[in-house]
């Protein structure tokens, strides 16, 4: 099967903001990433890591200091925004306040000098798509936040761009509306078949919506992969910490086969752990285990890891067991609660920890 075409291909992109007076700021540092056609691609990272900057480079509001950006094999790095078949949904929506909902949605097509009839038809189609038929003639200041969000989406989708860029489009909405819009966005992406590049710093949002995620930190892309890849096999400490919770242990590589390593932990226990892609670390390494990929047992006999239970915290859907391992490291085990009350474990008692298959992941350090 041929691999899907690249919608966006960025190679070695850097962006330096010249600070006047203050030091220069490298917002993007040698970023290379390929975004496939029809993909829901998410840029995930903490505030200030360069997500918006990368999006603005793709949209054409900024130009890269170094590197190339290709859109379906056309080098677009230096094209102005109005020549790129790419549209943006802004975090602030940036709806035109002196125009009605309908005029906002039709603006892009009008600027492309499409015939009036075609514009009108497309506007109606878009209004139906985002379920806003009734509000066509309202001013954008006269509709709610969630409705503004939909108009912003419809406006950006109306010219049928090759790629749609979304900069934290849901961050201004309350939780309930946010969940609704997440589903709505996913539906729109599937229905239109347009490539979405979505920016968020909400890990849950990224995991539930994306086909693939790029985790960013300090102007770099640390890891790209499917939500499962990123969650189950984070390759760097930052990724492991930023998404979900992570237990980290130190150990030494004893042997490696293909992509799995035998790691001897400080406590003496030996576990098998997945290796990061294209890396063959040797010597001391850090190993990560997700709390829910471990199981807590009362007997220490057959357990992989042993320690003392320090406390249990009840979270409603699940319970966290805070364990102090024999070598002194803290380890959290999460267990989903079910109807029957399991056997109580008292704080202070010795416990064992079992690891699920392929639960451990070796980090690149």
């Amino acid at each position: 099967m041929p691999s899907p075409a690249a919608a966006i291909d960025a190679r070695g992109v850097s962006k330096v903001f010249r600070g006047d007076g203050s030091a220069d700021l490298k917002a993007l540092d040698d970023v290379s990433v390929t975004i496939r056609e029809n993909e829901f691609f998410t840029l995930l990272g903490p505030s200030g890591c360069g997500k918006t900057t990368l999006l603005r480079l793709i949209a054409g509001f900024e130009f890269p200091t170094e590197g190339t950006i290709r859109l379906y094999d056309q080098d677009i790095a230096l094209l102005p925004p109005y020549l790129r078949p790419v549209n943006t949904v802004f975090q602030s929506y940036a709806l035109f306040p002196h125009m009605t909902v309908g005029q906002n949605i039709g603006f892009g097509l009008e600027m492309q000098d499409k015939p009036k009839r075609e514009v009108a038809a497309r506007v109606d189609e878009m209004l139906r798509l985002v379920r806003m038929e009734d509000l066509k003639d309202r001013l954008t200041s006269q509709i709610s936040g969630g409705q503004q969000q939909r108009v912003a989406l419809a406006r950006a989708l109306a010219p049928a761009p090759k790629v749609l860029l979304l900069d934290e489009p849901l961050s201004a909405l309350d939780l309930k509306l946010r969940k609704e819009m997440q589903i709505e966005l996913k539906r729109l992406q599937t229905e239109t078949g347009i490539t979405f590049v979505f920016v968020t710093h909400d890990q849950e949002e990224a995991l539930t919506m994306s086909d693939r995620i790029a985790v960013m930190s300090k102007g770099r892309i640390l890891q790209v992969g499917t939500p499962r890849d990123i969650y189950d096999h984070p390759e760097q400490r930052f990724v492991a910490d930023f998404i979900g919770e992570a237990n980290l242990m130190t150990g030494e590589i004893a042997a490696t086969t293909a992509d799995v390593a035998q790691v001897r932990l400080v406590s003496g226990a030996a576990i098998s752990a997945t290796l990061p892609a294209e890396a063959r670390p040797t010597g001391k390494v850090t190993v990560m285990v997700r709390p829910e990929h471990a199981e807590i047992v009362a007997s220490t006999a057959s357990a992989t890891l042993t320690g003392t239970l320090e406390s249990t915290v009840y979270f409603g859907t699940d319970t966290h067991f805070n364990v102090r391992l024999a070598d002194g490291t803290a380890f959290v085990v999460r267990r989903q609660n079910d109807r029957k009350e399991g056997r109580q474990l008292d704080p202070g008692t010795p416990v064992g920890v079992l690891l699920a298959e392929r639960a451990a992941q070796v980090l690149r350090d």
Partner: protein
């Protein structure tokens, strides 16, 4: 329930009364300072002119108003249009309109430039814009004269560099008056435009550009409609004082190219025709109010149209 309403009503009445009382002093000042003199001028315009200026009190006549548009023959009673007055009126309106347009064309990019500087630099630029105000208008006008004069800076430079053979006559033309007034009132255009542009959310311009609008269309479709209040304020601030300009046409027009302000001054000075001067003043006020009305109507209508 109706009792509660009564209490609310009473409170509202009290509130209203105290508001009136509080604003009474300023209302009084506005009345005495603005309406009072205007009333006096209206009164004077209907009185008989005195032989050596002033008016003959409480002798009324329409002669002052008549002379605004018409003149009587010197020897007979023939009546003809006062061509001189009409041409001065036309020149005033024409120069004021062109001045407004010129200051708009120069002022908009200036204001745009300042509004797009980093915030900490904008104050400096605004400060620079106000520098001309530090000097008295008369002195500034004489300075312009020094530039435009036949032996002035501009002509000397043009002749020295061989671009011209004999000096260009700039002084004492409508063009000189126009340039002079435009120079003097340019800051009055820049400041309100800047105030509007500074509030403009430039992300909207980015959004338009993202939606395939070329820069010219971003300006016409997004920026201009949104800074319209500034455009209107600036135009009014430039147009009105231009219409009544006095010093600039006097110095740069050299007594030949009069504007309304000069014509009015003439009636109170050499002309010794105070009723005519008063009538002309009132006419000027009327023109200003009329053009304001037309302008605001027109701009709000064009706004409504472009918004569908």
């Amino acid at each position: 329930m109706s009792k509660a309403q009564d209490i609310i009503k009473a409170a509202e009445r009290r509130d209203l009364r105290s508001r009136w009382l509080l604003s009474a002093p300023s209302l009084l000042i506005i009345f005495v300072a603005a309406i009072g003199p205007l009333a006096v001028v209206v009164l004077y315009s209907f009185m008989v002119k005195g032989d050596y200026g002033d008016v003959k009190y409480w002798q009324f006549s329409g002669e002052g108003w008549f002379s605004v548009l018409f003149e009587r023959g010197l020897f007979d009673d023939s009546i003809s249009l006062a061509d001189a007055h009409l041409s001065i009126l036309w020149r005033s309106v024409k120069i004021s309109i062109i001045t407004t347009i010129v200051t708009l064309i120069i002022g908009f990019p200036t204001a745009y430039f300042i509004a797009t500087r980093p915030p900490n630099r904008r104050d400096l630029w605004l400060f620079l814009i106000t520098i001309p105000f530090w000097t008295n208008l008369l002195i500034r006008t004489f300075a312009i004269q020094e530039v435009f004069r036949n032996e002035g800076v501009l002509n000397t430079a043009l002749i020295r560099t061989g671009l011209l053979e004999k000096p260009l006559q700039i002084m004492f033309t409508d063009g000189a008056i126009l340039l002079g007034i435009a120079y003097v009132y340019l800051p009055l255009m820049v400041l309100p435009l800047y105030a509007s542009l500074e509030k403009f959310d430039f992300r909207l311009a980015e959004a338009a550009s993202d939606l395939y609008a070329k820069p010219g269309r971003v300006l016409r479709r997004i920026i201009l409609p949104m800074v319209k209040p500034g455009l209107i304020a600036g135009s009014i601030l430039v147009f009105i004082p231009s219409l009544g300009a006095y010093v600039t046409p006097r110095v740069l027009g050299g007594g030949k190219h009069l504007m309304l302000g000069n014509l009015i001054e003439l009636q109170f000075g050499q002309g010794r025709n105070w009723p005519l001067g008063s009538a002309l003043s009132i006419s000027l006020t009327a023109i200003v109010m009329l053009s304001l009305l037309v302008y605001v109507r027109a701009s709000s209508k064009s706004g409504a149209r472009s918004h569908g």
